[in-house]
Symmetry: C2
Subunit: 463 residues, 2 copies
Amino acid sequence: MSDATTTDLYEVTMALSYLREGMTGPATFSLFVRDLPAERGFLVAAGLESALDHLSGLQVGPEDVDAFAAALHRPPRDLEPLLGLRFTGRVRAVPEGRVVLAGEPLLEVTAPLPQAQLVETYVLNQLSHQTTIASKAARCVLAASGHPVVDFSLRRTHGPQAGFQAARLGAMTGFAGTSNVAAATAVDVPAVGTMAHSFVEAFPTEEEAFRAFARAHPGPVTFLVDTYDTEAGVRVAARVLRDLDLGPGCAVRLDSGDLEDLAVRARAVLDGAGLRDVRITVSGGLDEYAVDDLVRSGAPIDVYAVGTRVGVSADAPYLDSAYKMVEYDGRPVMKLSSAKVTAPGQKQVFRRPGCADVIGLADEPPPPEGTPLLETVMRDGRRTGERSTLGECRERFAADLAALPPAARRIRAPVAPRATPSERLSTLTDHVRRRLAERTAAPAARHGVSEPSPSGSHRSVPS
Amino acid sequence: MSDATTTDLYEVTMALSYLREGMTGPATFSLFVRDLPAERGFLVAAGLESALDHLSGLQVGPEDVDAFAAALHRPPRDLEPLLGLRFTGRVRAVPEGRVVLAGEPLLEVTAPLPQAQLVETYVLNQLSHQTTIASKAARCVLAASGHPVVDFSLRRTHGPQAGFQAARLGAMTGFAGTSNVAAATAVDVPAVGTMAHSFVEAFPTEEEAFRAFARAHPGPVTFLVDTYDTEAGVRVAARVLRDLDLGPGCAVRLDSGDLEDLAVRARAVLDGAGLRDVRITVSGGLDEYAVDDLVRSGAPIDVYAVGTRVGVSADAPYLDSAYKMVEYDGRPVMKLSSAKVTAPGQKQVFRRPGCADVIGLADEPPPPEGTPLLETVMRDGRRTGERSTLGECRERFAADLAALPPAARRIRAPVAPRATPSERLSTLTDHVRRRLAERTAAPAARHGVSEPSPSGSHRSVPS
């Protein structure tokens, strides 16, 4: 079985229906986040590379057909119209690492309707998850105000795969390292970490533990000093560090207690021992809020290790993302029910100074000082260019972060800029809404009467 | 590279140090959740099968050694002591599906110290994540009070792997189905789902959409009725259902708006059309709180589809889990710093009526009416029995759920039962705490003086 079965069953039933009805005209689906969580002033686009890997590798094989058939309690021959299906469409998307706002398409897929529908679940999963985590990580970097931040999240992310992404996305937003060996190897970010409390406990004394560690690991070490009494632990670490003279780059790590107070005491002990170069790393339940408090306190902390709360984005573990059809066979479409209105048509986002973004139609010219965010990244089911390197993503993020308005950068009570629709998009939205409202109100609607769209490119669909 | 690199770097540095020092005596690590989130009255043990798969498959190969070496900036030959390392230890654990409480070991690993340490990250990740999600899913089943609950979470879980687990763990706690085809195929739970709003939008009218769907899918269908105007959509669905006479098992789905009110209206329309057998399914941002409200309202809802908030356990997306060394080479050990005290020694949990559990030592007899929760599941690195089937896990959960006190079952403001330590465990904890406190206070401690443990099995460790 391939990744083709990692999907919601309804994608399969819909694709089958479309094939049966001959509805294979081009459809465009737009993926965006409706509203930002209250705790977010901006999002960081991520997940695109994983989504493109899925799209370029997708092929419905015989085992997938068997799985679909079993799920539907139907004979495999009923599912054969799906056999061999590949993704042959076009993808326009915001490159990973760029800052995005509510309502802005992160990605638009244009493909024959059954394909565009079938890929919904997987693409939505990757972009939603990775954008959630990248946006959380970005706030940690902001809170640390230039101090290095490292990722310790692997032990409590939602599975090992999510742990890998947490490390990668942290690195994308400027983390200085990760404890995750697999991720460090794969994405070229430094691996960090030295010892746990259990290491100290395995020796008769802290001093023996520290000395044994230094024997096994030439070069700089970090001693964990809070296994028993933290201040005493710092004194032991200082004595061993002075004795062994391990050179620059050594540190002590505080993992519990009042980190602000303990950092002040640890600094005093280290300075008193002439160890001004020995750094202080803190960890233990940290997120951007805690880092912000510690940085503002002026505590003499050098490195912040964040973990679980960042790896699962604890205060906002998901985004209100959507993958909505905005055009089918040349006809702009939208959903009207309740508050969840979706603007119709293929779109472009124009980034303007101060993130005063404009969401317009894909074929309209940029507004003054506006540059488009969405790029064509896949055509005929194939990537149009090289995969982005982590370095490129990091540069995009750093540039966009520097251009964010201060209120969006705040850790507490951030204010997210709002993109505005272009005049052409507003006109189209009003037109399609009126058309649909008339249709659902009129009895004729129940019998299939439709109207051409204002673009004039409407072709009737088989019924 | 194998899963061996899906670990924190410090596991590798510690394992290397232990090997260098000849510290390969047996160590026991205990994995438990320190405190439950305020929103949880109990936990459901999960993740064991994934952890055992990892342990039985673990083997450090040449590529892993290269990755470790690169991460540490050292030549591969320095890492060769790890080459070929496998897990050869013993695991005692609470089987998946059982209810557990704060402080109760979910799993204890006893293995040569370097191995027991190296596996920490992966085992902690799997048990923490899966126990988090299973515990959330269990609350949905409770809230639904006998109505079927199905899983729609795949689109916004933390990656596809997490989506798979959400489906599996939902099924373990009694969900009636999942939208996830891969999971439904792998774990033998029904796949569910029919159409999205985009399907309805792709046709000129709702009616044409519903009729086309029924043409492609013989048998029961679920029509999504809220794409435009919900009540009008129900009327269209009713007409098509009456016309086509599709037999039992059909439904309408409401995915937005005031679900209580809309369900009442939809029921009236369906009943008025003589469609008393057509069921009403609701979805859209549901979790156990929303399900509880809807059930209590008496709304005529038949099936609850829960998604994102359950798949990421939005109100408590992680657990305060720990993997702590409790014994090394026959010596009970514990960590003293701040509030995070860990009780020493190998343990057993005795389940007593009403979840009045006792946490005791592994070798003590059960208290009155107490039955042990931890079983030996791996010996010499090999599983001692068959992998649990989903059905077995489900039965364990159902039995434990029925025995939970009412306050623990509450959706809002639940009260979790607290396990109490046995007299023998309390005595041991006091003894080890005193021994450690004396050691850190006395200057002699700095020079490695230690004492035998009360168990008399203390052997000194190399230093």
